[in-house]
Symmetry: C2
Subunit: 129 residues, 2 copies
DNA sequence: TTTTGTAGTCTACATATGTAACCCTAAGCA
DNA sequence: TGCTTAGGGTTACATATGTAGACTACAAAA
């Protein structure tokens, strides 16, 4: 399994997050959004859209006035794929290593610590039952 | 803080991991290593080395017979920087979200779960004391 | 009908990245 | 003493990515 490696560039993430949040959207809507979010010129958004289309991560249907873009991949897939490639590359695949590193660096706030603790505690209990 | 964004491409990681493991190393040693690890041709390794030198992540001293390459940045720094940019990009900066996602996907083995539990439990207790 | 906003196409250009061939010199070995 | 190898330099070339201008067509507003 795990045949296709889904991977998005920074620019592509901007667009995708936007479409995942709500779709379909027309080019103009996206252009507006990107302009405020990132300051891109109209043509920049257009270009990125075209490339993403080619890469197969989005598609469109011909709407009444304009094309309606929608995502072809879902967030979870991409997140998963990026996460596992990240963990492998940097932490030898080990989530423990990651968490350990952040813990050591005291990069985790009290709140986050509690949250983490609860997540793990529950998951663990669920497993053991 | 956090002025400089350290970021390594895939190819660069190969070299760096090698140098972090033990350095200095000569070009020839690295070429050999890369050849077995990745199948790169000699000139490929040379090119990547040159680029990394320019980017300032490695440097060399003139050895008796050949240059001795060594890293200019340490693993921790890079790992930190990559981790935070990853978490921000994908999980909105939240480690909890990451862990939660993996937990939900049952992507965490029993061993890893125990490990995580212990890491968090201890860190948490340390904090509260 | 003239201006303007919307939709869409094509082209451009710099930097990054992956990958590698070609070329020269000095030193070691057969 | 000619071939092989190590060490080093230069150039190349495709794809990816960030970023954007130029130009065309059409419909709605003025």
């Amino acid at each position: 399994m795990e045949a296709k490696e889904i991977s998005l560039s920074n620019s592509e993430w901007y667009i995708m997050e936007n479409l995942w949040e709500s779709s379909p959207k027309t080019a103009t809507q996206l252009i507006k959004a990107m302009e405020t979010e990132t300051g891109w010129a109209k043509s920049t958004t257009k270009t990125v859209l075209r490339r993403m289309e080619q890469k197969g991560c989005i598609a469109y249907t011909e709407g009444a006035k304009a094309r309606e873009y929608y995502p072809l991949i879902n967030r979870e897939e991409v997140v998963e794929s990026e996460t596992s490639s990240f963990l492998n590359r940097i932490y030898n695949g080990s989530l423990g290593l990651l968490v350990n590193t952040l813990v050591k660096k005291q990069d985790i706030s009290d709140n986050e610590m509690e949250e983490l603790y609860n997540i793990i505690k529950e998951a663990r209990e669920r497993k053991q039952s």
